[in-house]
């Protein structure tokens, strides 16, 4: 009622102009009029307001620029019969009342207009923009170069290496002959994939991944607990973030010593719980990974939760949703994109994730704890210690080929996971 009174008051003061704009979320064309209210798109429920501004149709040099630079057209201004003819289509300066008015805090400019409706003008880059551009390029040059060398270059080298084979010539020179292209390594890899070692390791890897993934709701709950600032939330935050602050080697050492030295004293009869024969090394390893993994995920989840608009939470409270309902219907859907990122990257890294096995067991890991990532580390890094070229070690092309094959296996799984999460997960909207 109150809103209608306001509407009527505004309506009575001046005649509303009608405009057509595109919803910036779904793009549907909406008929709006210029008043001081935002509105909701009836199609996607997106909240938006309209600001009426003057479009710059031609860039001028800095000294000649007007003091207030208005933003370029982003909203469709295609006049209908009632709308005034517009030579230079503009975005409204003041919020405009829609047919179903809803208050919005900040006006949002909608989607770009069709080219035919706006005369196109060539943009010239101003001197200041050029300087900015140069700065950005210089700023990004080093990380881009690092990416090109240490990611693209290294991976390209690995791919090329996977096709090579070394044979050694006769004594006394023992000259190395490098066959630059052969499928032989891939034959060996497929043989290895069918072997018992890979079967054992992939089983342990999947089990480890499954357990650590199933524990992610705990991280979400912890993040929600911290977000809601429930009792002792600060302490929980410290406990969960502490493993991320300290060196992982130190944390692993403390953890191991606790279970090997302290627990048997506190609970006589338990013995060395890390003993591969009498203990539970895999269980302790999983507990460690879950606890260690909380830090990053809880941080990201709680940050995402903090970015949720208070108004949405309040409106949910007004509607009677608190506690679990608030978490399920508001917080979880809005945090879902972050959760998806963690799950997808977890799947993508499944073959190289060590699950901290080396930190716990060095080179003595029992088969029940031996994951793929650990095997890669001890077999490649442990044996070859940075001999990363074909010239360095004849055995390396085999491992390069394993990497390529596992990449081809992992990529579709990761993409499939992403599709499934997007398809079946809650929508942020």
């Amino acid at each position: 009622m109150q809103e209608n009174e306001i509407l009527n008051a505004n309506n009575s003061s001046e005649k509303a102009e009608k405009f057509l704009v595109n919803c910036p979320s779904c793009g549907v064309t909406l008929k709006v009029s210029d008043k001081n209210y935002a509105f909701a798109c009836p199609n996607c429920q997106h909240l938006l307001g309209i600001k009426k501004e003057t479009r710059i149709v031609e860039e001028v040099v800095l000294e000649e620029q007007p003091l207030e630079e208005t933003c370029p057209v982003a909203a469709t201004i295609a006049a209908d019969e009632a709308a005034p003819a517009i030579d230079t289509p503009i975005v409204a300066e003041t919020p405009i009342v829609a047919e179903t008015p809803i208050m919005a805090e900040t006006p949002v400019v909608g989607a770009p207009v069709a080219a035919s409706a706006i005369p196109a003008k060539k943009k010239k880059i101003s001197k200041s923009n050029r300087a900015d551009l140069i700065f950005y390029c210089i700023f990004l040059a080093w990380p881009v170069l690092q990416f090109l060398v240490f990611y693209v270059g290294v991976n390209m080298n690995s791919i090329l290496m996977s096709f090579k084979k070394i044979t050694v010539g006769p004594a006394p020179e023992f000259e190395w002959r490098i066959d630059p292209f052969t499928w032989e390594q891939y034959g060996k890899v497929f043989d290895w994939l069918g072997g018992p070692d890979f079967r054992n390791m992939i089983g342990v890897t999947l089990k480890s991944f499954g357990i650590t993934t199933l524990a992610f709701p705990l991280g979400l709950l912890f993040a929600y607990y911290i977000f809601k600032k429930l009792p002792f939330w600060g302490g929980f935050r410290v406990i969960l973030f502490l493993p991320q602050i300290l060196s992982s080697v130190v944390v692993a050492l403390i953890y191991k010593n606790f279970f090997v030295e302290c627990v048997p004293l506190l609970f006589p009869g338990t013995g060395n719980l890390l003993d591969p024969v009498t203990g539970q090394p895999f269980t302790l390893l999983m507990i460690y990974n879950i606890w260690f993994g909380f830090g990053t995920s809880v941080l990201m989840y709680s940050n995402k939760m903090s970015s949720i608009d208070d108004e949405i939470i309040e409106s949910a409270h007004i509607d009677g949703a608190t506690g679990v309902k608030e978490f399920w219907h508001i917080v979880l859907p809005l945090t879902y994109p972050t959760i998806s990122v963690f799950l997808i990257t977890g799947v993508a890294q499944i073959c190289v994730n060590q699950f901290n096995v080396h930190q716990m067991f060095q080179y003595s890991a029992d088969p029940s704890t031996r994951v793929l990532g650990y095997w890669f580390f001890i077999d490649v890094a442990g044996k070859f210690k940075d001999l990363q070229s074909v010239d360095g070690a004849a055995e390396l092309p085999f491992y390069a080929a394993i990497g390529v094959i596992l990449t081809f296996i992992t990529i579709p799984i990761a993409l499939g996971t992403r599709w499934a999460l997007e398809r079946f997960g809650p929508s942020e909207d």
Binding site: P170, P276, K385
Partner: protein, 613 residues
């Protein structure tokens, strides 16, 4: 108030971050780790009670030298430390003082050193692109580095020219024939040396001689074999004149009363149990240490030629265990294992070396130790560091009971340098020379026949031990060295390979270099008891090195010199592999089962092209 609480919390958290220092090592060894030491260091020891050797400092300034040239040296600062290098540098600087030379048009009147003491291995340093004038490294894939043209310069003249510091002697003459063959590499039609051996890395059993002497843990001459089971105490004596002849078969030598066979060793463990725990090793690094030890036990049984087959894969294997049809080890009527000879061809049947009898006996040895509980709890504890094992071996005060203190330690010969801090501390607190308490035990033989053969060799004056050098060390000149600096590097290497310098190395580290040299009786007297016992054994030993000049070795060099997973096993061709961390024996597997599993593991590698043939 809230501000104060927050401040306190911040201080508390900052203090907790100091927990990170737990990642630092144990008691610091003598000297510093950044080159040079701060002064005299107590190392070595002698019977007269004077326990310090003045090692000097590599940072001291030499009078009269105003413009020294800085030679860069990379020293792998592992168990052997850097004190020996500091001492050598200190003497060399004095020798070089005043001798002018020119580099890049600048005249220098002496040599200074920039030493990097670090634990980065050679293969990582090679790809780092960092140049050093001189390299002192270990676990070096020598052939691969030379082939890939990284790191090492030709140094044939260093090896073949007469040593100006030792007239009439060349460095080449200090190498064995096998070493000369290995370290010479033919490349682009030219055969040159690119390096020479550094220290020798042996692994074996260190025993607490002080306790052995005190408790009389020496086998009694003429003991009754039946008493080994029925009355163990009757088999041992503290009377130095009543001991058995020991492994060398000669009475009146240092090894009198020590076990010559596995059976005697187990009896020794039985008599120790109750007073102390027989043996310990690092549980955290047991995979590597037990692999080294297995290799040492294997060559102890197989000898030089058969032991070397494990690297060349070229020759006839003469002691291959025969399996029954059911996979069990075949034995004769007397219970001895049956062996056969097989010609080894790397491409087709190199895996057959997996059933060398020496490996079977090595597994049997470990199985018995595990089965009978001769080991400490730390040996199976994944957090038990080698430094902790050394500490408990030297000073049992940190243990719950003195009975938990080990009497023997499965370790590398570098252990005294690693434990230098603890030894110094115990010396200071007790006033006793702790470096005279320990010794290196000759490894026992698997059978009495083997022990008798060893004694016969000793009687004939032949080498009667076989040791395994597991470390593939090197001393070399950097490839990028300036031509004007090369003569200085050459001169320094010739200096540190004189008998005097090599003896100094031994006196400081109580270990040996992997080259031939002699030590005077005065020098030997300055060694610790461990150093003297080690020297005594090496003087009568053949040494198996991780070298070969075959195509197979060239292609698989990194895998062959790496000891991780070296003695793994898989019980069937369809089961995952397990490692030699003796957990298998604790899970109920027998040595015979593990031995067959090791052979299957090796065969699997050949069948599935996991080795490059």
């Amino acid at each position: 108030m809230k501000k104060t609480v927050n401040k306190l919390l911040v201080w508390l958290l900052a203090g907790m971050m100091c927990v990170s220092t737990a990642a630092c090592g144990g008691a610091p060894a003598a000297g510093t780790s950044t080159g040079g030491n701060s002064g005299n260091t107590s190392v070595g020891g002698n019977t007269s009670g004077d326990t310090s050797i003045d090692v000097g400092t590599s940072e001291e300034e030499i009078p009269g030298v105003t413009n020294p040239y800085s030679l860069t040296v990379f020293n792998f600062d592992g168990g052997y430390g850097h004190e020996w290098l500091d001492a050598a540098i200190s003497r060399y600087k004095k020798v070089r003082a005043g001798k002018e030379f020119t580099v890049d048009g600048v005249t220098y009147d002496g040599v200074d050193f920039k030493v990097t003491n670090d634990k980065t291995l050679m293969s990582a340093m090679a790809t780092s692109g960092t140049h050093y004038d001189i390299w002192l490294e270990e676990q070096v894939p020598y052939n691969q580095l030379i082939r890939s043209d990284k790191t090492f310069a030709k140094m044939t003249d260093v090896m073949t020219e007469e040593n100006p510091y030792e007239p009439g002697v060349t460095l080449e003459s200090k190498l064995s024939a096998q070493q000369q063959e290995f370290y010479k590499v033919t490349k682009d039609g030219e055969t040159d040396y690119y390096g020479l051996p550094h220290y020798a890395g042996y692994v074996g059993i260190v025993y607490n001689k002080y306790y052995f002497d005190g408790y009389g843990w020496y086998l009694k001459d003429g003991y009754n074999k039946a008493d080994l089971v029925e009355d163990i105490d009757a088999c041992f004596t503290d009377d130095a004149t009543a001991r058995t002849a020991g492994p060398d078969g000669m009475k009146g030598t240092e090894d009198d009363g020590l076990p010559t066979t596995y059976e005697e060793f187990y009896a020794l463990c039985d008599v120790i149990t109750g007073t102390r725990t027989p043996i310990s090793w690092t549980g955290r690094h047991r995979e590597g240490y037990l692999s080294w030890f297995t290799q040492a036990m294997m060559v102890n049984h197989e000898g030089l030629e058969q032991g070397a087959l494990n690297f060349s894969f070229d020759g006839t294997a003469e002691n291959l265990v025969v399996f029954n049809e059911d996979g069990s080890v075949k034995t004769d009527a007397d219970g001895n294992i049956v062996t056969e000879s097989v010609a080894i061809d790397a491409a087709t049947n190199g895996y057959e070396l997996g059933r060398q009898a020496g490996k079977y006996y090595a597994f049997k040895f470990l199985e018995t130790i595990m089965e009978r509980g001769y080991h400490t709890d730390g040996a199976v504890n994944p957090t038990y560091e080698q430094t902790t094992a050394q500490e408990h071996f030297i000073d049992g005060s940190g243990l719950d009971a003195l009975e938990d203190m080990p009497a023997m330690l499965l370790e590398g010969v570098w252990w005294e340098m690693e434990a230098a801090g603890i030894l110094d501390a115990m010396q200071q607190s007790s006033g006793q020379d702790y470096r005279q308490r320990y010794a290196f035990m000759p490894l026992p033989c698997a059978t009495e026949a083997e022990a008798a053969e060893r004694a016969e060799k000793a009687a004939r004056g032949e080498n009667y031990y076989t040791l395994m050098d597991t470390h593939n060390t090197i001393c070399a000149i950097g490839k990028e060295i300036k031509s004007e600096v090369y003569p200085i590097a050459k001169d320094f290497i010739q200096f540190i390979y004189t008998d005097e310098s090599l003896a100094e190395f031994s006196k400081i580290t109580n270990t040996t270099k992997a080259v031939k040299y002699t030590m005077s009786e005065e020098d030997k007297a300055q060694l610790s008891s461990f150093g003297r016992s080690l020297l005594s054994i090496t003087e009568k030993a053949d040494v198996v090195y991780g070298y070969a000049k075959t195509s197979f070795y060239q292609q698989n060099e990194m895998s062959l010199i790496n000891y991780n997973q070296k003695y793994s096993a898989r019980y069937t061709s369809d089961s995952a592999y397990v490692t030699i961390s003796v957990d298998e024996f604790r899970k109920g597997k027998t040595a015979a089962e593990y031995f067959r599993g090791h052979w299957i593991y090796e065969k699997y590698k050949w069948d599935h092209n996991e080795v490059i043939k």
